[in-house]
């Protein structure tokens, strides 16, 4: 079945990059801010030098041998959703916006827990966004627990898998407890993925490295997201940044496997171009996308599941730039065959979220997934008999042939929100207005997959304890 597939590096080229990254790890090494984490690698054969840990090639090879090639991802309720490692194309809103852009506003505001619930409900009703993510950081909650509380509305109102992450060492175990409160075998049949990001160049902060250690120990999938900034925190050349990116991800793979052989990891990334004048982190700059396609081939070389940040925009409003950047990066993500694609709904360097943009991005996701699905070459699809009959017997009008009706729903993807109507049926509203109406419609009539009461009580009690720790009143939504 012909499917458009985009690859960048040949096998030989990928091997060259891999060998350079191994050289980086064994000669330049990685800095672990937390000495306890450094110790894990040193005790296994890493070499301490000048505050850094050199990681020999054997250690990397051993880790790669132990790393699972595929990860089965489940829903909250235990239903199998997809296999990561086989181009799963799971779009989800990006991570951790600190602002939300209301409809019609030009100034984003801090989001609250109620916004987070709205986001969850909308994602639950969008067919092309297959996973939830903790995409808003609520401002009406004490800062110490802002990472963990984000899981609450998702677990309560949605059954889709979750892409999330912690900002602190101490809240990760709480988040894991929340998952287990909802389903006892949350580790065995995982429904949440946690992001952990090394700090470029070649460094791991205490928080993210300890998170990775805890995740590996528990057996929860960790998405290792390197984020080289071209020309600032990484070489300005795409190839150089790719070498560094790959080395950073490998260092995370090594750490995870040293903690627990077989720990599930996803090869991730959020490369960016530091805008040469402003230093702003451009996530969908062409150079950043080339790095992503490059590391996608590195993940392919190692046969690991792979994640990316695409389908988002660095624009400030839901405008032409937002649409163009989201669409062009989405098609690249789909043709690149990524498993997890984070970004729909995001604006302004992944710091601002728009519910209307999420609706429009869902359209893009459907569109690009349709392109990615390709087409079949069966006799029924090649349709030689149909051509003969239509041309010779039906005056060339395929609308009259039963084949059209039989195949059209399978073959053709219809857009829901985008304007494809003739002017006579056009309601004189632009696409942004349409998206807003859809937001309102879903919030009023959409499906909510509420957690069953008994589990909800368990979840509530962990949620409440979280607030008690910081002497605050829980925000129940």
């Amino acid at each position: 079945m012909p499917r458009p597939v985009l690859s960048l590096l040949t096998l030989e080229e990928a091997k060259i990059v891999h060998s350079k990254s191994l050289e980086v790890l064994s000669t330049i090494g990685v800095r672990f801010e937390d000495p306890e984490v450094a110790k894990i690698v040193i005790e296994a054969g890493g070499v301490e030098r000048g505050g850094r840990v050199l990681i020999p090639e054997e250690l990397v090879n051993e880790a790669l041998r132990a790393t699972p090639r595929r990860i089965e991802l489940y829903s909250r309720d235990g239903e199998r959703i997809n296999t990561l490692g086989e181009s799963a194309l799971i779009f989800n809103p990006g991570s951790a916006a600190i602002k939300i852009l209301d409809y019609g506003s030009k100034s984003p505001r801090p989001p609250n827990m109620s916004d987070l619930k709205k986001l969850v409900v909308i994602v639950e009703n969008l067919s092309h966004i297959q996973a939830q993510s903790t995409a808003l950081v609520p401002d009406d909650v004490p800062i110490e627990i802002r990472d963990a509380v984000r899981l609450y509305p998702i677990l309560k109102y949605s059954k889709k898998p979750i892409v999330t992450g912690a900002f602190t060492v101490e809240n990760l175990p709480v988040m894991l407890n929340m998952l287990r409160a909802v389903r006892e075998d949350a580790w065995k049949r995982p429904f949440a993925i946690f992001d952990v990001c090394p700090s470029p160049p070649l460094s791991w902060s205490t928080v993210t490295s300890r998170n990775l250690v805890d995740l590996a120990r528990t057996g929860v999938p960790a998405e290792i997201i390197s984020m080289p900034g071209l020309g600032t925190t990484a070489p300005v050349t795409v190839a150089g940044a790719l070498v560094q990116h790959h080395a950073e991800v490998l260092s995370g793979v090594v750490l995870a496997q040293l903690v627990s052989k077989g720990a599930p990891v996803i090869y991730g990334g959020s490369p960016l171009l530091a805008q040469p004048r402003y230093g702003t982190p451009l996530i969908v700059a062409p150079e950043a996308l080339l790095i992503s396609l490059g590391y996608r081939d590195m993940a392919r070389l190692l046969d690991l599941p792979v994640h990316t940040y695409m389908g988002l925009s660095d624009a400030k409003l839901v405008d032409y730039q937002a649409g163009a950047e989201s669409a062009y990066s989405s098609i690249i993500a789909v043709l690149g065959g990524f498993d997890v694609i984070s970004g729909p709904g995001m604006l302004e360097f992944e710091s601002v979220f728009s519910l209307e943009k999420l609706i429009l991005d869902n359209e893009v996701c459907g569109l690009v997934k349709r392109v990615g699905r390709g087409f079949g070459l069966s006799p029924d699809e090649l349709a030689l008999d149909v051509i003969r009959e239509a041309v010779l017997e039906k005056s060339g009008n395929y609308l009259l042939h039963s084949h059209t009706r039989r195949m059209i729903r399978r073959e053709v993807h219809l857009l829901r929100i985008w304007d494809t109507a003739p002017r006579s049926r056009w309601p004189s509203r632009d696409i942004y207005e349409e998206a807003h109406l859809e937001v309102e419609r879903i919030l009023a009539e959409g499906t909510v997959n509420q957690l069953e009461l008994e589990l909800q009580e368990k979840l509530d009690s962990i949620y409440q304890e979280l607030y008690e720790r910081v002497n605050a009143k829980p925000v129940f939504i």
Partner: protein
């Protein structure tokens, strides 16, 4: 002499530190005073660099190279020759990148620019806690505090710095710059800082206005 001055000016603007250093030495040997060198050549050259940056012709990397050329001439040639008391000291500024953030590009750029303008910059480096900043403010009697954050997740630490200053009764004694690419005027107001440091040149201008030095 004028030819050499033009050459030094060009070397700084092009970010050629080796050439700048060599020409500066020749100028000093020909009898140009250290202070004159700063006022007539170095500062105008850095202003030109700032203009080129504002006009979009220069990138951050260019500005850093120019600042480095400036700094080397300043440190190696000018500073040793400045007579005691002649060196202008506008104020002490304490700079650091917030806790949890190890990006220091913006902070380093700001540091050089502030030093150029006569500030004594106490650079606390990266991953700096609010307590470390406040201690440095007390120790060096600083008038300016610059806290930089590159990541949206670490920006919140800037608020903690302001809170810590307030707690120790130092808030009104210092001008607080919240620096870094994600920082906005709105954020500065929200956390109770004074100057938006999304752009180091702009921040410097604003700090000088607030201090009443031009």
């Amino acid at each position: 002499m004028e030819g050499l001055k033009r050459e030094l000016y060009a070397a700084i603007v092009e970010g050629d530190a080796d050439r700048a250093l060599a020409v500066a030495r020749r100028l000093i040997d020909s009898g140009v005073g250290a202070h004159g060198l700063v006022v007539e050549v170095l500062v105008p050259a850095m202003r030109r660099v700032g203009e080129l940056f504002e006009r979009g012709e220069y990138f951050i990397a260019d500005v850093i190279a120019c600042a480095e050329a400036f700094k080397r001439v300043f440190e190696d040639v000018v500073k040793p020759r400045l007579e005691r008391g002649e060196k202008r000291r506008v104020a002490v500024a304490v700079f650091g990148t917030v806790k949890g953030d190890i990006h220091d590009l913006g902070k380093n750029l700001a540091k050089v620019l502030f030093e150029v303008e006569g500030f004594e910059v106490i650079d606390l480096g990266v991953d700096v806690t609010p307590e470390q900043i406040v201690e440095a403010v007390e120790k060096y009697n600083a008038r300016v505090v610059g806290v930089s954050a590159l990541m949206t997740t670490t920006m919140i630490e800037q608020r903690r710095v302001v809170e810590e200053l307030r707690k120790r009764g130092l808030r009104d004694k210092v001008i607080v710059i919240a620096g870094g690419a994600p920082v906005t005027e709105e954020w500065v107001r929200e956390i109770g800082a004074d100057v938006c440091g999304d752009d180091a040149f702009k921040a410097l201008r604003r700090v000088k206005e607030l201090l009443g030095v031009f």
